[in-house]
Amino acid sequence: MNNSFQIGTSQIMLISRLLARFFLSMVFFCFLLTFIPDISYVDTSKMTRFLDHLEVLILFEFDYSIIYGDSVWEVIYTNGKYTLYLIISAIFIIIAMVIPLSYYSVMYNNRTLSKWIDNSLFAISSIPILILSILFMVLATEIFNFVPIFNQYSGEGATFTQKALILSLPVLSIILGDGIFYSVYDSAKDKITKIKTESWFKGILARGGNPRRHIIRGIVETLIISISGKITYLLSGIIIVEMVFSWQGLGMLIVDVFKQSGQKDYPLLIAIVAVLLIIIQAVNAAKIFILQKLNPEKSNGLVTGS
Amino acid sequence: MSINRKVLIGVNNLTKTYQKGRVEIFRELNFDIYEGEVLGVVGESGCGKTTLIRSLLCLEDSVSGKVKYKGINLLEVHENDKRDVIRKELRYIYQHPESSLNPGVTIGKSLINTLKIYKSNNGRNDLEMYLELVGLPKSYKSKYPKELSGGEKRRAVLARALITKPKAIFADEPFSGLDKILQARLISRLITIQKEQNLTLVLISHDKQIIQTLSDRVMELKDAKLLVR
């Protein structure tokens, strides 16, 4: 997803561009589905099978899911809540942690503490999400001798700390694992060092001004761009975390569908992927609008490239 | 400077259009470039003097007219034998030194690569001779373009052009962006080389003062007309 933003074209054009991209990737997904070996399609040609899947997508035939019996939307609704919680809290915490950390580390970069933060973040970033979540599990069982799996949450007797653990550990492992947090933090730091060399930054200083507000704005701008660039990566992470902490989210659903032997539940699979892709395009749309608000001079009629 | 010199390049009714003929940069220009002279091309920035020289050397498209050099009309030369007909003898120096120096390789290496094209066998001492010619010490052949200052980069680009032993050099704003005194040093070096090798030199610049003192003839491009003094 190129992270440039189309300026000058009106909002409707942007929305239609995102919808077109969404539809195209769904068609591509249906095309990929045709490769899954399935007993019920063993004699039909790939083309008819592709049209079958497309039909499910276009005509919204989501009323019957094979595994769960009731309509696909119920399944999506019940499970989607948890995945949405993971995504939103992951993005929110990334933003809340990157702004102060990157500001502190560039503004006082000669302090040993900021160097220590950089190195430790880099080291953690090389731990994959799967490993980090398992290590968190081991730590939780060792220290709190309580296994933070999802169904413990609703169980009675779960103390506040146990509930907090259940909610926070998956989010932490999504963020810190696979270097997602580190890459966002790194791009924010690069942006600040770049701003500090800009001549308008020196202009502010020369006029006796305090550039903190402009630095924060610069961080937010890079945050939005790098997060929207990493969103597909984040969703892959969510699938892993849901499996490890056995959260009943969309990720677990996807894995269950794939693990099914014999008849695969295509309508459910298409619906889940559709929801995930909508989330991706929603984040992109948010990115475009926020960037237009941050850089007003680029949006009123001036056509500039990426 | 006697005028009855041999004509190197004869140009008649050269026209350059833009956006499929709607906008005209210049139309039906006629002028000659003599051998061994220093010709100045002057004009306000954006008046098309660079495009004029680039269309002369077939670096631009949608150009019509006749550019006679050694009896051939350069505009009709086919794309893949341009390399032998035009590029061998007519050299164009770009305005920004970054576009002529490969950042990933040392100055010496890029000069040797150019030398290899022109089949001059004694590469090593040729290279040092050319560096000396443009005023760069021998130790600079192991430096990267990034480590050179603005003036030094322009000297390296000049050395790279001279290596190809061209008949004529067309330099596009070779001194812009430098201080007056640095420009002065570069200019006097360029003039001494031009005198020694009896090279035809075409200088493009928006700074009338330098061009006046330097060139034998001055061509001024003003709203698509050409006045020669």
Binding site: L33, F35, T141, T232, F258, K259 | R91
Partner: protein
């Protein structure tokens, strides 16, 4: 004034050092596995904790039962053993846990430290043959034949009551440095065997991604804009769907054939390589470098392949290759953990993690901690190798 850093302690040299050492260790693990094949995964006792003492004390708490002995009661046969009442071990008066899994021939020594300080007398009531208790510490040298489990019980008499502590000691013939899993395979053997799914599939994915990405990146400028828009469309399409879902489809479609899956990983990484190469080449096209190189007399393919790619993109290539390898290791352990990748008879790190998962509940952490650490170190090592080589190759003009 502080002097600039010495020449050889520059960060990239250290990164290179770590990276190369990790690479070599992975390679040796691979060659070890391919040369010896099965004998390394010897059959041993199941669920044996790691026999390296530090690991065992860190990662395993042996089950110890403690009793209080009523000294004035007699059992039916008339000896003065006295009745034993078991008490919960956390009121244990011993503060350090004994090692409970050792190898024949190793000298075993356990010096119990007591929380209470009024200990009057210690006595070994039950112990394997040859174990002695000398001034407060138990010593033993298991003979070659003494293999199996041996109960040990220690009687501790304080002024008020007498306690008795029982634990079982397991002795094996072979040495299991990192312990064993339920089926008795030595974890260290498993890990070495599992390493075969790191470098080779990584190279497959890297070679596909780098070659296609490079070709697309260069040709998108070489042949003009319509080719470029086609490549852009292709890479946008692949990047629009989360990588893991595409991998699942390929895994299921190829009936878990790892080599095909790794080819799929290569396919998914093409857009990333394509973006890097295209941006570098675009830079050269935009600042007229290509045109001036053509003008001076280079041929078009020389300009693109030597001047731009060979001189300037070498360092990106290496860092991208290491990225591809780390990405493919990531994917391998994830899909094997979800049982969609390497299947049971075969061995891979992901599978070890999967087996290890249910051992977390029973407190046997070593089955999970060792593969986790090993995977993280190899990924960190390869990333450092990539960034070190990148800085090493183009320190001058970056």
């Amino acid at each position: 004034m502080k002097q600039p850093i010495k020449k050889y302690f520059k960060p990239q040299n250290i990164q290179l050092l770590i990276g190369i050492s990790v690479l070599i260790s992975l390679l040796t693990a691979n060659t070890l596995w391919f040369s010896q094949h099965n004998p390394m995964i010897s059959r041993g006792p199941s669920d044996m904790p790691p026999q390296i003492e530090i690991f065992q004390s860190l990662l395993y708490t042996p089950d110890i039962s403690t009793y209080i002995v009523e000294d004035d009661t007699w059992d039916s046969w008339g000896n003065s053993g006295g009745r034993r009442i078991s008490i919960s071990s956390d009121s244990l008066l011993i503060s350090n846990f004994p090692i409970t899994a050792i190898q024949t021939g190793s000298d075993y020594e356990y010096h119990p430290r007591f929380k209470a300080n009024d200990i009057s007398e210690l006595e070994l009531t039950e112990s394997p043959e040859g174990m002695t208790l000398t001034d407060g510490s138990i010593q033993w040298m298991p003979g070659e034949l003494q293999i199996g489990t041996f109960p040990v019980s220690l009687r501790i008499e304080t002024d008020s009551t007498t306690y008795e502590v029982d634990y079982t000691l397991r002795v094996t013939k072979e040495f299991y440095p990192l312990g064993t899993n339920e089926r008795g395979n030595s974890l260290s053997g498993l890990l070495i065997a599992g390493s075969k799914w790191t470098l080779i599939p990584g190279m497959i994915a890297a070679s596909i991604a780098i070659s296609f990405g490079l070709l697309m990146g260069v040709f998108s400028n070489y042949y003009g804009s319509h080719v470029a828009s086609m490549f852009d469309g292709f890479s946008d399409l692949i990047e629009s769907i989360p990588a893991l879902i595409i991998i699942f489809i390929i895994a299921v479609a190829s009936q878990f054939n790892m080599y095909l899956i790794m080819a799929g990983v290569g396919l998914i990484l093409i857009p990333k390589v394509y973006a890097v190469i295209k941006s570098t080449v675009n830079q050269f096209v935009e600042n007229q470098f290509v045109e001036s190189a053509l003008e001076i007399g280079f041929e078009k393919k020389v300009v693109y392949w030597r001047e731009i790619v060979w001189y300037n993109c070498k360092s990106d290539m290496i860092s991208l290759t290491t990225y591809c390898i780390t990405f493919s290791i990531l994917i391998e352990i994830t899909i094997s953990y979800l049982n969609l990748g390497v299947q049971d008879p075969d061995i891979s790190w992901g599978l070890i993690l999967l087996e290890g998962r249910d051992s977390i509940l029973s407190g046997e952490y070593w089955m999970v901690v060792f593969p986790a650490i090993l995977i993280s170190i190899s990924i960190l090592g390869l990333t450092l190798l990539g960034s070190g080589a990148k800085q090493f190759l183009d320190p001058k003009f970056k």
